[in-house]
Amino acid sequence: MNNIAIQATHLTRRFGKFTAVDDVSFSLPYGSIFGFLGANGAGKSTTIRMLCGILAPSSGTGQVGGFDVSTQPEQIKTAIGYVSQRFSLYSDLTVMENLSFYGQIYGLTNSRLHERIEEILKLTGLDQFRHRLSSDLSGGWKQRLAIANAILHQPKIIFLDEPTAGIDPISRRSIWELLYQLADSGVALFVTTHYMEEAERCNTIAFISAGKILKIGTPSGLKHEIKGQLLQVECSPLMKASQVFAKLPGVSGLTVYGTTLNLNVKDIEKAKEEVSLSAQRNGIQVVAMNSIEASLEDVFSLLDTGAKV
């Protein structure tokens, strides 16, 4: 059996002269989590909309659950679950009413519908709130309801568009546990997010900027790729140092982290020399200088600045 849940091949979408998604290709097997990272307006939502079959690609092809996005959008819609960026269920309906409405839309009936709702309520912990209006749920529970809703008809592929935006860390963690459970049961998850620590949890991540995928790989692989390119400098005065160091020829990017500066550099040894020299010249006191392991956020900002140049 084919193990590929989502296959995008040169997927492109243009709106007039503007190219929102430019030649995007990737594939995602069942049972894994794909993290789609990018700034707002980078093309994440447009990609999702094409893969969900509600927006036709201008060129390229996409296969979701074995169905073609351009020619079989109706089949795709029954095969996938979708959790949108903002809460888009009915706020004046209760948890049960929402689930039973969407269950029916997906073709579940009577006893099967009941069975599935009970299963889902237990799985998501929404059991206790079954008769509460969804507008009265907290942000985290609302999002669980949205997920519950998306998995009611047991899709093998789920799209989640920033599922944890604006949700407290504890709820976020428990939502991710739920996502892991789903992945374990063989579901493919396509997740967009802004949170780097969430990206770390994905099996594969892709960075998209201005419609193009810049990098794709496993989180550790991507971090490894820019190893030796990140220099952490502890110094004072910090703000002056950040202005001075940013102008050094060997420094391509700079981020302030509390009392330290993280410099993106080409050559770590050369950069160390440049930094100490310019520190002396400008009366900056350098306490420590170390080559450090990159975080995904560093990867992200490095890629993003690289893309703009």
């Binding site: 509600i54 819609k77 949108s84 004046d92 409405f101 969407y102 073709g107």
Partner: protein
């Protein structure tokens, strides 16, 4: 089918939980019937009238009596100077004044002929016209009754009769028309906001990725509002019949069948408004924009016959124009389907056009 039922059920929950709309839907028709039944009464009766009787004689008293008996005039006050008369009219305390000169009876009996003055406040043309016409009739009848003029034998014995509404009660005319008005005011509004609400709250985004089809969504969403429309029409019908004794002479099934056609037009307007607006406020503005000309140009209050041709022509494109003739025709005249065919086919045509057009637009908006 299951999809449509699921949406209907969900929509009913929305409606039942939205108390404000629910109250409006129930109370507004009743309120309108009360307002138009009691308040907007164009029947002119009991005009406040001042009398300045300088003669105080047998015939002058009989004349005043004739005015009072006509029911059109009510003697508000007997005054004793022209200054009082002027003051009464100027300050709006009187709408009319009868001024009888001294020597009224004597001059008449001497066959000399006597002047008789009537002053009428012409500010509002409707009561002024009534006062003018009725006073002339009253005086001429008075002269005949008193034997002051010879009643000639007329070559043509002209006897006009009023049919359908012999007492010329304005409630007979206004209240059936209310069915057309209230449906036009409420139905497009609630339909449009029900659909736009889904857009505003992002629900539509979720529905898009489900297997539901646009036509199922539309059918499911508008069906409850068809029911609401029928409830509104029934409320008005019952209230006007039992509170204001408006007779229902025609076939009630024909009435409801044609009301359904009109409802579809109204729903279509709401649907169309929802496709071109981003929020509920915009939708209600668009709906109101169409309601105003409908009320004024359809013949709901002002007769279309008095409007210039080009305005009447515009009226031909207003669904309410046709439905007004239908409700009034069925309720007051007992007209049947065949009698109303000239009104029915334009309405059917409009229903078809508006529904096809807006479903098409709606489908495109969604895609």
């Amino acid at each position: 089918m299951q999809n449509i039922l699921a949406i209907i059920y969900k929509e009913v929950i929305h409606i039942l939980r939205d108390r404000k709309t629910l109250v409006m839907v129930i109370l507004m028709p009743l309120m309108q019937v009360m307002i138009y039944g009691y308040g907007v009464n164009t029947d002119v009766r009991h005009l406040r009238t001042y009398v300045y009787d300088q003669d105080q004689s047998y015939l002058s008293r009989r004349l005043i009596d004739a005015f009072v008996r006509s029911d059109y005039f009510k003697i508000e006050k007997k005054v004793h100077s022209l200054k009082d008369v002027r003051e009464g009219l100027d300050r709006g305390k009187a709408s009319a004044a009868i001024i009888i000169p001294a020597g009224f009876t004597a001059d008449i009996l001497k066959k000399k002929g006597s002047p008789l003055q009537m002053l009428i406040d012409g500010t509002d043309s409707t009561p002024a016209n009534v006062a003018l016409n009725s006073s002339q009739a009253i005086v001429s009848t008075f002269m005949q009754e008193q034997g002051l003029v010879q009643v000639p034998v007329l070559p043509v014995d002209f006897r006009p009769r009023l049919w359908y509404n012999p007492d010329l009660k304005s409630t007979f005319f206004m209240l059936p028309g209310l069915i057309a008005l209230v449906l036009q005011l409420i139905v497009p509004m609630i339909t449009a906001s029900a659909i736009v609400r889904e857009k505003e709250r992002g629900n539509i985004e979720q529905l898009l990725v489900t297997p539901i089809k646009p036509y199922q969504l539309i059918l499911g969403k508008i069906t409850p509002y068809v029911v609401i429309g029928i409830v509104i029409a029934s409320t008005i019908l019952l209230a006007m019949h039992f509170i204001f004794q408006v007779p229902i002479r025609g076939n009630i099934i024909t009435l409801f069948a044609l009301t359904l056609v009109y409802l579809i037009v109204c729903l279509g307007i709401g649907l169309w408004a929802s496709t071109i607006s981003e929020n509920q406020q915009q939708a209600s503005q668009i709906v109101m924009f169409f309601a105003m000309p409908s009320i004024l140009l359809s013949g709901f209050i002002f007769p279309r016959e008095t409007m210039p041709m080009w305005v009447q022509y515009i009226g031909n494109f207003i669904p309410m124009t046709y439905f007004l003739k239908i409700v009034r025709g069925i309720i007051l005249k007992g007209m049947g389907f065949i009698d109303l065919i000239d009104q029915v086919w334009p309405l059917l045509l409009m229903a078809a056009v508006v529904i096809i057009f807006s479903i098409n637009r709606f489908g495109k908006r969604i895609a």
